[in-house]
């Protein structure tokens, strides 16, 4: 399959990327690693007329220790997040989630910013970043703003990004007890998107593919905070969710998976020394 025709434009700096986006308007789309966008274009689910390739915007590829948080450039690839010694020590949940994305070939190309901006409800990293209370730094024609993960994901493939805005940095606070994490996902083949997934950090729980956006399992979090057992709290994992039915699973089965995976995740996070 060949994607529909488009004009390829290449940026080498953030300013160039923003200028190209301003020039080409709403029909243009940023191309990060392309591991989600190109397959969608080949299937004609997306047909931007201009692609602005960010692949050479090297200033957006970094993982930096900022004391209380870690700053990650939007064009940092999953492979680099998964193998970062800083993240392995301070935010192992994020490194483990990046290692769970797709397969090695996809992790060599795909980027953290691309995954977040694409906002697939079945994607791994958005839920983990939601559980970690990350903040997304966004640059646009009118300057820079910061959007908390809880306010970023608006719907299926829909985010707080305005046309022309670029997600430049992901800021992830270091958790108090880095080792209290777990990432669970259920799928049929390793490369498939999660049928349902759960990211846990301490008492924070986020769900993958239980609605049109990644969701915090607030009922579980409140129950844990008021002293409920893991088994009892996990029973509430599907409360407030809106899972869909598709060829992979029914809504009821997804709700069952959410409860089971949440229990497993909380148990694993609690058991880590």
């Amino acid at each position: 399959m060949i994607p529909p025709s488009f004009t390829y434009a290449r940026a080498t700096t953030v300013d160039e990327a923003l200028a190209l986006a301003a020039e080409h308007g709403e029909d243009a789309k940023y191309l990060a690693g392309g591991q989600s966008l190109l397959p969608l274009m080949k299937l004609r689910f997306a047909a931007p007329t201009v692609l602005i390739d960010l692949g050479r915007v090297t200033e957006l590829s970094y993982i930096r220790d900022e004391g209380t948080y870690v700053a990650i450039g939007g064009m940092t690839r999953h492979h680099e997040v998964a193998h970062s010694e800083l993240l392995a020590a301070d935010i192992p949940l994020l490194a483990a989630t990046a290692e769970a994305v797709g397969d090695p070939q996809i992790r060599h190309r795909g980027t953290i910013g691309g995954s977040v901006a694409h906002a697939d409800a079945a994607a791994d990293l958005p839920a983990t970043l939601l559980a970690l209370d990350a903040t997304f730094v966004v640059k646009g024609p009118d300057g820079t703003r910061s959007v908390p993960a809880a306010e970023f994901f608006k719907g299926i493939f829909e985010t707080a990004l305005e046309p022309g805005e670029l997600l430049t940095e992901i800021q992830v606070p270091k958790p108090a007890k880095p080792s209290a994490w777990s990432f669970q996902k259920f799928n049929k083949r390793a490369i498939d998107f999660a049928m349902v997934g759960v990211a846990v950090q301490g008492g924070s729980v986020a769900l993958i593919n239980m609605g049109s956006t990644p969701l915090r399992a607030s009922a579980v979090e409140s129950a844990l905070a008021s002293g409920a057992s893991i088994a009892d709290a996990a029973q509430l994992a599907a409360d407030g969710t809106n899972a869909g039915t598709d060829i992979h699973a029914s809504k009821a089965y997804r709700e069952h998976l959410a409860r089971v995976l949440t229990r497993r995740a909380l148990e694993e996070a609690a058991a880590r020394p």
Binding site: M1, I2, P3, P4, S5, F6, T7, Y8, R10, L31, G34, Q35, L38, P39, K42, L43, L51, D53, G55, H79, G102, D103, P104, Q105, I106, H108, R109, A190, I191
Partner: protein, 154 residues
């Protein structure tokens, strides 16, 4: 647009449509047809090549994204005198292929894996090949070949 790639050590320049995928560039422009198109949806790994030394699925990379960079296909693995690469030799010795369709992608994925982890465990090999599907389900000998190649490269 004009793209310039180094493919298997040779500099290549071509005028291609902006939407040209790397796999089509390799097969149709460079005339290197070892790289197969399998699922064409980033799932099966048959089109795996090395981009600057790392495995990628060439059905999901634009030729334009590879402009100015180095690509290695299966044809570029063997030595100039025809000596097989350790991974190729191991596939030969361990009967690592049945129909052969997934083989070029498997070999390139393993070459990349061994570069990152020269002494993988069996579990790490299986995990490292999660992006490659064998339609003959001949995984056991493929994994054996990967482990044998790691051993032979020591």
């Amino acid at each position: 647009m004009k793209v310039e790639l180094t493919v298997n050590g040779k500099d290549m320049t071509a005028d291609v449509e902006d939407r040209t995928l790397l796999v089509h560039f390799l097969r149709d422009v460079a005339d290197l047809t070892a790289t197969n198109i399998g699922c064409d949806t980033t799932s099966c790994g048959a089109c795996t090549v090395l981009l600057d030394g790392e495995s990628v699925k060439s059905c999901t990379v634009l030729a334009a994204q590879a402009d100015g960079r180095t690509v290695t296909t299966l044809e570029g693995l063997a030595g100039d005198d025809g000596t097989m690469h350790p991974v190729q030799q191991a596939f030969h010795e361990e009967h690592g292929l049945q129909c052969g369709y997934c083989t070029p992608g498997m070999v390139m994925a393993i070459a990349s894996l061994l570069k990152e982890n020269p002494s993988p465990t069996e579990a790490q090999v299986r995990q490292g090949l999660e992006g490659n599907i064998c339609r003959c389900t001949g995984y056991h000998n493929i994994v054996k070949a990967a482990l044998a190649a790691a051993e032979a490269s020591k």
